[in-house]
């Protein structure tokens, strides 16, 4: 016990013991939280500056005040041009953020999408090449998460490298493909979350009158600049039917970089938080291993090269609607005939005969009664209602389902049933 380091080790061990045993009693726990929440709510009422519309905006709502202030500003402009010039330089404009991110090649962000029963998380890394084109993208999809840290498991990782995609469906298969539609989605994804691209897009929509933008300068130097964009219905995302949406960009007052964005669904009497994303860091190069799923996935996992697969049905001259019906019809007929090998070939990411048998044999589909009119969903998949007759507990009964179909990855002229949606049979 003579050496200083020994006593330090002993004291460290002692405190480790004490710390690990510090537990707040449940009753006290509740009391502290309740009191803190009450104090927090009260403080919101007492400090309205940050949380309520600014006094400036309230004043400016009055027409007379607007005229009076406009006149006053004119006089002030004549008297103190220098002062006004200085103030004007402080005002926020999109260009400042665009300039701040200009030349940056690496973006890393997290996205959280709120659903009624859970939160879906995504963490993404986007690398741009020297010419400014998207070079590499990786995103991990979490099955469950919260927005403080991703606590759920990664269900899927995707790496896109200059047109080629690797998709690691955790625990299932590693899939390789090249697909122009998928690439377009990836590029849109990258541009949507690149602050420069997002602001440019917003700006162009504003010029078309599809979005209203408000900029709220901070009341204190440490607060964020808030940019609120209200999108008219069906303008928020390309090619998708969307309700009216409000985005709130939180922009750092000093660096002018976007810190986070919240997206709200605007309902007649309320707003609902749909999603949010946070920028973790800017221009921090990421490790090359992050872009190698072949190395990351276990060696014994099934590797599927979609380009070499012969699956789905050629669309030929059929309309989108007709090929959807045809795909559903052939898939269901194969299940009725218990031709599970054929059914497996009609699923977008080929399932083996055994996998199909395991999943659908017990359904005992006897015949197809009807296939309804397909409709496209917001994610560009075709949904088709079907009615079949099945045998259950010795009786024959009718069941209705919805089948989802889409293009086969790597084979844009082919259609297949989307495997995940086959779960609908289990309802």
């Amino acid at each position: 016990m003579k050496a200083a380091e020994n006593i330090e080790k002993l004291i460290k061990a002692f405190f480790k013991t004490k710390k690990s045993s510090a537990v707040m009693p449940i009753e006290k726990d509740k009391q502290i939280l309740n009191d803190a929440l009450t104090a927090f709510e009260k403080s919101k009422i007492n400090t309205p500056a940050q949380l309520q519309p600014s006094v400036w905006r309230i004043i400016m709502k009055s027409r007379i005040t607007k005229l009076t202030i406009a006149a006053a500003l004119l006089i002030a402009a004549v008297v103190t041009i220098t002062f006004i010039d200085k103030s004007a330089s402080l005002a926020y404009a999109f260009e400042q953020t665009m300039t701040a991110v200009n030349g940056m090649r690496y973006f890393h962000f997290k996205q959280f999408v709120y659903q009624p029963d859970r939160c879906l998380g995504k963490e993404a890394w986007v690398e741009y090449g020297l010419t400014g084109k998207v070079k590499n993208v990786r995103f991990d999809v979490y099955d469950v998460c919260d927005n403080s840290n991703n606590k759920g498991k990664i269900s899927q990782s995707v790496v896109w490298k200059e047109g080629k995609t690797e998709c690691w469906k955790v625990g299932q298969a590693l899939i390789f493909f090249e697909d122009a539609d998928y690439t377009a989605k990836i590029l849109f994804f990258a541009s949507r979350y690149n602050p420069k691209g997002a602001l440019e897009y917003m700006d162009s929509l504003e010029k078309e009158g599809k979005v209203k933008i408000q900029i709220e300068e901070p009341t204190a130097s440490h607060d964020d600049i808030l940019v609120t964009a209200i999108y008219k219905p069906n303008t928020y995302l390309l090619q998708r039917q969307m309700p009216a949406i409000k985005d709130v960009y939180h922009i750092d007052n000093v660096s002018r970089l976007v810190k986070a964005v919240e997206a709200f669904h605007l309902k007649p009497n309320s707003t609902e938080l749909l999603a949010e994303w946070q920028y973790c860091d800017y221009n921090q190069p990421f490790a090359p291993e992050l872009l190698d799923l072949n190395k990351e996935a276990p060696s014994d996992v099934n590797r599927i090269d979609m380009m070499a697969m012969d699956i789905g049905i050629e669309q030929g001259d059929l309309s989108d609607s007709a090929i959807t019906v045809e795909t559903a019809s052939q898939f269901l007929d194969a299940l009725v005939d218990k031709d599970y090998a054929l059914a497996g070939k009609l699923v977008s990411e080929e399932m083996t005969e055994q996998q199909i048998r395991q999943k659908y044999e017990n359904l005992h589909i006897l015949k197809v009664i009807s296939i309804g009119e397909p409709k496209m969903d917001q994610y560009m998949f075709w949904m088709v209602p079907v009615k079949v007759m099945i045998e259950k507990d010795g009786k024959t009964i009718e069941r209705e389902f919805t089948l989802k179909s889409g293009k086969v990855l790597g084979h844009p002229s082919r259609r297949a049933v989307e495997a995940p949606e086959l779960k609908c049979f289990e309802k």
Binding site: F15, K19, V23, L37, F40, Q50, D223
Partner: protein, 178 residues
């Protein structure tokens, strides 16, 4: 670190959920520190209560120079100091320092005998408050000397001296005993 920044940002934007998360994340750290500094579990719980309620009250205007953890733990240390060391000392009860609860079930606890814990407890109470505070903040709360110095508005050298003298004194008390 990023998570804390995010929580703080959410808090400043009125999220009570963020407040709950901050509490859950740091409550045990705060309690452990308050107990170690005050030597009294009941007093420690009250200090955590007062500190956190006060934090919630001023959340909207909060401007942090350091990390959130450092801020909360410093608030605890300051409040213990301000609540009157004499009062706390009079409430000192070596048995209460065993607030570890179901101590015997904990593996770390098993690694250190009760006798040894008692001796170290006793030795710590013989240090000056300043020395004890630095040692606790450094070893238990894992704050750096710089963070401790900033929180007490003294130089890093002063903090390091208090630490060194504290460790020397502990060694001389415990030498041969433990």
């Amino acid at each position: 670190m990023f998570e804390d920044k995010w929580l703080l940002w959410k808090l400043k934007n009125g999220s009570s959920d963020a407040l709950c998360r901050i509490y859950k994340k740091y409550k045990n750290n705060m309690l452990a520190l308050a107990v170690a500094l005050s030597n009294n579990k009941t007093v420690a719980e009250d200090i955590v209560h007062d500190c956190f309620v006060s934090f919630a009250q001023s959340a909207n205007k909060l401007q942090l120079r350091d990390s959130l953890k450092s801020y909360l733990l410093t608030s605890i240390a300051n409040r213990v100091r301000n609540s009157g060391r004499d009062k706390i000392k009079s409430a000192l009860d070596v048995e209460e320092m065993e607030i570890a609860g179901p101590a015997s079930n904990q593996p770390e606890r098993l690694a250190m005998s009760n006798e040894r814990v008692r001796k170290i407890n006793s030795a710590l109470t013989q240090l000056s408050y300043e020395q004890r505070e630095v040692i606790i903040l450094y070893f238990q709360s894992r704050l750096t000397f710089k963070e401790i110095a900033e929180s007490q508005s003294v130089s890093v050298n002063t903090i390091q001296s208090r630490y060194r003298y504290g460790i020397d004194k502990l060694r001389s008390i415990l030498d041969g005993e433990v």
